[in-house]
């Protein structure tokens, strides 16, 4: 075996493969600095806005950050991996319940519950992942919906978690209302920056390429040596940890959680919309998407009650109707989201 030529040959093959991958995923119409600048502008803007806005706006912006953290985590498996998860509430909910339980039973404060909340969500995600990630993606998707309902039933029938009455989560501080709001805001802000960083690093790592390979053609990825189940499970677990941590802040912010509201498909719908509108499988997408979705929902919340149809008031459920229609429209026509409109994908998928 000739030691001089062999490594070189392997290297060049790898180079070609990597260049191909880059041509596919980094082909662009805009210069490369645009997306990072948008990301920094959104995050920087949010960082400054927290200090200067009034309380009402602060609550809205907290929701934006809450969605950002969960959506960045969701995007790993749902966007890059193509395994849609309609159970975003499972992980945020288990984190919220873990945090509220610890606060009640042991008097833990918010900071201390971040890790256990993330850990609880990871445990739940392992249960979910082991049962379903060996199946095709649509069984995973349907099972996440079913699992959301299961989580709700389990919590409802567990007296230790408050049953259907729910749990209170108090934060024992001497801060005033604004101070508390800022505390939640900047905790979530920190996690949003962290989540974005994680998403950026994963997008540009072999792990990210492996996930995208799974989404393109899973059997082919497996044949090429991608350990598909383990890669998918890792993506799910990282996403779940972020969701769980966001859930713990949510529990303290809202102060009271109950099963039906915590484990509902509404959060799943919002998170899916955030990623789909922003752009699946892009690290900037969830940032743009969560701003748009929260602004849209706020606008609908103000606008819909004022609307009249045949002289009758329109029920609040019309909000969700609009969101559902929006999801269908994006699924049919704008599949790669807003980021996808500006970033061209050069490589084309060839179907044999």
């Amino acid at each position: 075996m000739s030691a001089e030529t062999e490594p070189q040959a392997t290297e060049s093959v790898e180079d070609i493969a990597l260049a191909g991958a880059r041509a596919t995923y980094r082909g662009r119409r805009l210069p490369s600095w645009v997306m990072p600048v948008i990301a920094v502008a959104i995050l920087g803007g949010l960082g400054v806005l927290g200090l200067v806005t009034d309380m009402g706006m602060l609550t809205t912006l907290t929701t934006v950050l809450f969605y950002m953290v969960i959506a960045q985590g969701w995007n790993l498996l749902g966007g890059y991996g193509g395994y849609l998860n309609f159970g975003a509430a499972i992980f945020a909910g288990s984190g919220a319940y873990a945090a509220a339980w610890l606060a009640n039973e042991w008097g833990w404060t918010m900071w201390q519950t971040f890790l256990p909340a993330g850990f609880a969500a990871v445990l739940v995600s392992l249960v979910l992942g082991y049962a379903t990630l060996r199946l095709r993606s649509h069984y995973f998707a349907i099972f996440t919906i079913v699992f959301t309902f299961l989580a709700m039933v389990v919590v409802k029938n567990t007296p230790a978690l408050g049953g259907s009455l729910g749990l209170y989560a108090f934060l024992d501080t001497d801060l005033d209302a604004r101070g508390m709001a800022l505390l939640f805001y900047y905790s979530l802000f920190g996690f949003a920056v962290l989540a974005t960083l994680i998403a950026y690093l994963i997008e540009h790592s072999n792990f990210g390429y492996a996930l995208r390979a799974i989404s393109e053609d899973e059997p082919a990825a497996q044949v090429l040596g991608v350990k598909t189940v383990s890669v998918k499970l890792r993506a799910l677990v990282i996403g779940a940890a972020l969701g769980g941590i966001a859930g713990s802040v949510y529990a303290f912010q809202i102060g009271y959680i109950e099963p039906a509201g915590t484990f509902s498909l509404d959060l799943a719908l919002d998170i899916v919309l955030v990623c789909v509108i922003g752009g699946l499988a892009t690290w900037v997408g969830p940032l743009i998407g969560s701003v748009i979705v929260v602004v849209l929902e706020q606008w609908l919340r103000v606008f819909v009650p004022r609307m009249e149809l045949f002289g009758l008031g329109v029920p609040a459920e019309a909000n969700r109707l609009v969101l559902g229609i929006l999801l269908i429209v994006f699924a049919l026509f704008i599949r790669r989201g807003i980021v996808g409109l500006f970033v061209e994908r050069r490589g084309r998928r060839i179907t044999v």
Partner: protein, 292 residues
């Protein structure tokens, strides 16, 4: 648990299970033949049940006759959905299809809640509400009727799929749509009709379900879970195996209900679902799966 209780549970369970077969058939057909996961299945089911409730309770029409217009209405709705949504998704990736149908589920559910609110409703079954007595075993008439109607529909579907030329064409499509096109099967037209039949069956499932259970538009996901469980256990597309799986789930639920408090029967059923997923390693992807 006495022998009488057990017999009663077995009879009631198998009747309930027959209805579950009807609840799952539409999902199974659309998944088996068109390979589309109809996430909106349970939303359509509850929507059908709500319209049925409106006709029977609101207008006082006959509960048995009204099953027909609901099923036909479901078929027509299926044609509309196919034209507006499904046909564009036919050759798309799994995730695009899932997004589209998740959106559809949200849309149908929102409309149902906007019109009928989130109240739990029970269909006024009138003359079906008596309980038949066989010795010391009592069986609600509505259950017998609902199970009998489902049985008739599923047997008819089974005969259609196995004994007619169109049925053979559908099985061919399920096997391999490309080859089906090559041998001259009109895959496009057939797909549209099968999808519409699947939605019609979902609406039909809603009517027979509402004969035996009360329902609530907010909790329709529960029926998605049940239908999914039946489909996982029974495999895809076969009417008879779907019926058998439904009966198994019904008996399991009723017998477990004898042993543990009511709220834990849910958990036992979900446990069954998890076991079924783990044991069927490739889920429904095994060889037998695509045969009808």
């Amino acid at each position: 648990m006495s022998l009488r209780d057990l017999t009663q549970a077995l009879i009631n369970g198998s009747l309930l299970g027959g209805v579950y077969g009807g609840v799952a058939m539409g999902l199974s057909l659309v998944l088996g033949v068109l390979r589309i996961v109809n996430l909106a299945h349970s939303a359509v089911l509850i929507f059908g049940a709500l319209v049925y409730w409106e006709l029977v309770n609101g207008l006082g029409l006959d509960p048995l006759l009204m099953i027909v217009p609901i099923a036909v209405g479901g078929y027509l709705l299926g044609l509309v959905v196919h034209r507006g949504l499904t046909q564009y998704l036919a050759r798309e990736s799994d995730s695009t299809v899932l997004l589209g149908f998740f959106g559809l589920m949200v849309v149908i559910e929102s409309i149902a809640i906007m019109v009928w609110t989130t109240d739990t409703r029970t269909v006024n079954i009138g003359y079906l509400s008596q309980v038949l007595r066989f010795g010391d075993i009592g069986v609600p008439l509505a259950r017998i009727v609902a199970a009998a109607i489902t049985l008739a529909v599923l047997v008819a579907l089974h005969l259609f799929l196995t004994r007619t030329l169109t049925g053979a064409a559908i099985r061919g499509m399920a096997e391999n749509p490309d080859v089906a096109t090559l041998v001259g099967i009109e895959v496009g037209t057939l797909s549209r009709r099968i999808f519409a039949v699947g939605i019609g069956l979902a609406a039909f499932g809603g009517t027979v379900l509402s004969l035996v259970q009360s329902f609530n538009p907010q909790e329709h996901v529960r029926w998605l879970a049940w239908a999914f469980l039946v489909v996982i256990l029974g495999g895809l597309g076969s009417a008879m195996r779907t019926l058998l799986a439904g009966v198994f789930v019904g008996i399991f639920e009723t017998v477990v209900g004898l042993l543990v408090p009511f709220q834990y029967t849910y958990l036992a059923l979900y446990g069954l679902l998890a076991v079924a997923l783990l044991v069927r390693n490739e889920g429904l992807g095994s060889v037998r799966l695509r045969t009808i």
